[in-house]
Symmetry: C2
Subunit: 146 residues, 2 copies
Amino acid sequence: MSNEARVDSRNMADHLHSVAIHLLRKLRREDESSGLNAPRLSALSVIVFGGPITLGNLAAVEQVRPPTMTRIVNALEEQGLVVKKKNAEDGRSTRLSATTAGKKLLMEGRNRRVRSLARQIDALSNTEQSILREASRILATVVRAI
Amino acid sequence: MSNEARVDSRNMADHLHSVAIHLLRKLRREDESSGLNAPRLSALSVIVFGGPITLGNLAAVEQVRPPTMTRIVNALEEQGLVVKKKNAEDGRSTRLSATTAGKKLLMEGRNRRVRSLARQIDALSNTEQSILREASRILATVVRAI
DNA sequence: GATATATCGTTAGCTGGGCTAACGATATGG
DNA sequence: CCATATCGTTAGCCCAGCTAACGATATATC
């Protein structure tokens, strides 16, 4: 590989990193009324679409340590969005699943949070939207591989 | 606009949001040895390339409130990476600039942090790299507009 | 079957980033 | 000269990360 290519990939990585930081900072501001911030929303999403799931597995999926996930799940539980059930086959682990309220709030909260971003995407040309769509797919595999 | 397009942009926004969360979580792990985490690295970067700059302006650029930036800058100052100077023309404001050590650490820390991401980008095809390059440019303007 | 070991989740305690409210210091305008 | 505005800091709060240590349960070994 040429040295230029390496410099370029470093710049791209740098730029993507910066964009990710600022994107999340912006979106965080949309949270005020939702009662669901990013980590909780993301965890709830996994529970809704991938549940029932154990706390340890959820922590692994979300790339955090179990104590971190304990607190996130406790908050979701106190809000009545998630229920913990003992696993009958293994008393050490729990089975997390979403309540009806949890599923409902996921959709609403997620909508609220990404609404402003979606609005900006709507304003892009079709070509630009295609590029973004492809890029987000590529990025997902890239991130998974890190 | 068709309803399908709106649904699609919401899904894209959703997906980008999720990717951004997981990207930053991954990259945060690369920080251990660097001594510079994301907010400090980002702030230092602005000071290095955009300094001298006032604390308030830096906070605005970084999209955080002044008290938040005060703490970040204090940490950078304690590490000898940044210096505060009184503005001679306006005694209320300060002029932040990077020390030589700050400039050096920025390059090294930034490299370390995005190295694993750059490595994955290197492994992509030329086409995929082009898509990512375009997408990061588009995203930057999108984020700025939110 | 008893005992050692491994695994799951929680608790405790730390660091650090975000915020608002309130304040001192300095500029500026009436 | 005094009222008002602006800049940055301090204080105090919430929440997300982490490690270390622990109780409870499973499992393996003797």
